[in-house]
């Protein structure tokens, strides 16, 4: 088993729900051969260096997984048939990729925001109290 990285381009006008649908489709295709998916994330929307099917922009999606050589060949042939995927490429990785922890980051960010709000509220309360005291 070796680690591989697959990158593929999708039409830029697709909405998030449709993007997720395609992403999950690809993931299911990878999972069919009992492979382990480490990462699967949207890299971003970029301008293409040259037009593919008369389209000049594209959203890139990256997946990291471990698989056998024969499975990767099958995946590539499956991806070529797909209409929604403009272009794709698989690369063998020398080392195991770093697992992204997107969920944890978002949770942390949310909690930080909550704390900020709380602090602001407390400050507001203190100010109101002060103001009231001055008035009294």
């Amino acid at each position: 088993m070796r680690y591989y990285e697959t990158i593929y381009i999708i039409h830029p006008d697709f909405e998030d729900s449709r993007l997720d649908e395609i992403k999950s489709n690809v993931e299911n295709q990878i999972k069919k051969e009992c492979e382990e998916i480490l990462n699967s994330y949207i890299w971003g929307k970029r301008r293409l260096a040259y037009n593919i099917n008369n389209i000049s922009y594209g959203t890139y999606i990256i997946t990291h997984y471990s698989a056998k050589k024969s499975h990767v060949k099958e995946l590539n042939s499956w991806m070529e048939i797909q209409e929604n995927i403009l272009a794709h490429m698989t690369v063998r990785l020398d080392e195991s990729p770093v697992v992204r922890e997107i969920n944890k980051d978002t949770k942390l960010k949310l909690s930080d925001k909550g704390n900020e709000n709380k602090e602001i509220k407390i400050k507001d309360d203190a100010e109101i109290k002060k103001a009231l005291e001055v008035k009294e």
Partner: protein, 76 residues
Amino acid sequence: MSVIGRGNVCKFCEDKTIIIDYKNVRTIKKFVNEQGKIIPGRVTGVCAKCQRKLTRSIKRARNIALMSYTGDGFSY
């Protein structure tokens, strides 16, 4: 070896934090001609080992439309 030749140190060996990868196009595209051709290592001072990695990553970037084959439309 001439003294002038020694002054040109490989950029990637000097700074190990720079990763030669097809995804970080910003660093790679400095080693490409205006016409999109790969500049030889003897001009840029990149060592042979790093040059091999560079060419591989440039060719990969071209394949997935991150860099152009012909080099039109961007300047550095």
